[in-house]
């Protein structure tokens, strides 16, 4: 039934998405960086990458910020999603929903600029945060991540059944016990998926980090961005190969978590 050109468009689209990345990754293993000239299998770009202290430092910082931001985003976004899905109507619900959804739809430059202005205003009013760096980037990323976690948790709970919690209450469970033994397990897969999403969002962000970091908070994407501005180096190919492997692992993990849910 599906016309042939629709299927052809799928393969064309996949080729468009994949070919640039695959070329990059393949040539990460070539001794020669020149196109079409395979210089033989070599790990020299991985070695060069391992010797690039600036990039490694940025990568380590990025991983720590991403883990911290995701870990902060999960309870915050989880609470918002749960409140929106389960608390029924209450005063301020519409405002809470709008604020939680705002980071998802606001352009990054607006979010970045607004958070920087907040940190500057807070610093001149209270002395905290003294300058900007990893801490302020972490707060910015946690805010963005929490918005995504809230959406995932809310849709998970809205699709699920309140009856389960009601059954627990009928059987004499206190609200806290019902939450811990029924609601939380129901939310768990979406919390885990939300953590992974917040983690990857943080690892991929240039704009928020550019605005909210000072000289001490250069994350991997910000360092990569300034490298790419000056043109490519084959070390970037090696980094791409590593990131692709990491992304595949994370996606497989997320797939396992989601499969468990179904």
């Amino acid at each position: 039934m599906t016309p042939g050109w629709v299927r052809a468009a799928l393969w064309a689209g996949l080729a468009f998405l994949w070919l640039p990345v695959l070329l990059l990754v393949t040539y990460a293993f070539s001794a020669s960086p020149i196109p079409f000239r395979w210089g033989g299998f070599s790990l020299r770009w991985f070695a060069a990458l391992a010797a690039n202290d600036r990039l490694l430092e940025a990568a380590w910082l990025s991983l720590r910020i991403a883990a911290g931001a995701a870990t902060l985003a999960v309870p915050l976004g989880g609470a918002v999603g749960w409140v929106l899905a389960r608390h029924g109507p209450f005063a301020g619900r519409a405002v809470l929903g709008a604020l939680a959804g705002a980071p998802l739809v606001l352009p990054e430059v607006v979010t970045g600029l607004s958070l920087l202005l907040l940190f500057v205003a807070l610093e001149s009013a209270t002395g905290w945060p003294a300058g900007r760096g990893a801490g302020t980037v972490l707060l910015a990323h946690a805010t963005l991540g929490a918005a995504y976690v809230a959406v995932i948790v809310q849709s998970r709970l809205a699709a699920g059944e309140q009856e389960l919690e009601e059954a627990a209450w009928d059987l004499g469970a206190s609200p806290a016990a019902a939450f811990a033994t029924v609601t939380l397990p129901l939310m768990a897969p979406s919390l885990a998926a939300g953590w992974l999403l917040a983690f990857t969002l943080s690892l991929d962000d240039v704009v928020l980090a550019s605005f909210t970091s000072g000289p001490s908070g250069t994350t991997l994407p910000v360092a990569l961005f300034s490298m790419l501005r000056l043109g490519m180096t084959p070390e970037v190919n090696a980094l791409a190969a590593l990131l692709l492997a990491g992304a595949a692992a994370i996606l497989a993990l997320a797939g396992l978590l989601l499969r468990k849910r179904d």
């Binding site: 039934m1 409140v83 791409a240 992304a247």
Partner: protein, 279 residues
């Protein structure tokens, strides 16, 4: 306890989402000043500064930047739809391959945004893959400048945003009733005609959502024009960075952010409405 659970995340959102946006509005009405931070708020004697917002309307540079952002975002979204509409439907009908194909659309999306831009730089630059191929085929002697052009900008934008557009189309296509297309076929429509006149119209809300899902973030894009676009592609994201970091004119940067938000407000509300109408 229940109130505390509402209040605590509410306070976080008030402090880190609402307050910053209000500050952008205040900054847009402030005065540029020499100092750290380089501005004077309206309450420090000078009153409200109407010039920043007026400048956006009167200065052709800023006006052109806002218009160019909207047209680039619209072109990106339209090109994404052109690919995403057949892709989403084909994946929804792929049977056992469905999950694998969906993962194939999403995985490049997870490789890292900058890495994929790096791949395009490697393809498009003068010593890059495309120019090397053209030279090998004898089609050109001097390298053709491909990087830092309007075309490179659009290719990079479509590559970055295509997965966003495929997802809503896919989700809607999985819920389509195949009976309607069969009826069209029984009545003599070719598969192509049935797709265009029966399948696509049913997907209209999803297509509109996909368009907006690309259009809204693309309008504020900074990194892609900076890395792939020509210097004259002064999209608003770029101008905000320039005003903020190079010219240190925070009030004008904030006014640009306000203008961008005002222009996107309609699309954002429409998108949220489409989201509510859907599942």
């Amino acid at each position: 306890m229940r109130i505390a659970l509402r209040l605590l995340p509410g306070l976080w959102l008030a402090l880190l989402v609402a307050a910053p946006l209000i500050l952008v509005g205040v900054m847009a009405l402030s005065w540029q000043a020499v100092g750290i931070p380089p501005y004077e708020p309206p309450w420090r004697g000078q009153g409200i500064n109407p010039d920043n917002l007026r400048l956006l309307l009167e200065d052709p540079h800023y006006r052109a930047s806002l218009i160019q952002s909207l047209t680039t975002a619209a072109a990106t979204a339209a090109l994404c739809l052109l690919l995403a509409a057949p892709m989403g439907v084909a994946i929804a009908r792929a049977g056992r391959l469905r999950n694998a194909l969906l993962a194939a659309v999403l995985l490049p999306f997870w490789t890292g945004f900058l890495i994929r831009l790096g791949a395009w730089i490697g393809l498009l630059r003068d010593e890059g893959w495309i120019n090397a191929a053209l030279r090998a085929l004898g089609l050109t002697e001097a390298p053709i400048p491909l990087l830092y052009t309007q075309g490179a900008l659009l290719v990079g934008m479509v590559h970055a945003y295509l997965p966003f557009a495929v997802l809503p189309v896919f989700a809607a296509a999985t819920r389509l009733d195949p009976v309607l297309e069969q009826a069209a076929a029984d009545l003599g429509a070719t598969p192509g005609r049935a797709f265009l006149t029966v399948t696509l119209p049913q997907l209209f809300p999803a297509l509109a959502a996909a368009f907006l899902l690309v259009f809204i973030p693309a309008a504020g894009e900074y990194v892609i024009p900076e890395l792939l676009g020509p210097p004259e592609a002064t999209l608003v994201g770029r101008v905000v960075f320039q005003e903020f970091f190079q010219n240190r004119d925070w009030p004008v940067a904030a006014a640009l952010a306000v203008a961008l938000l005002a222009l996107l407000l309609g699309p954002i509300l429409l998108f949220q409405r489409l989201g509510r109408a859907g599942p």
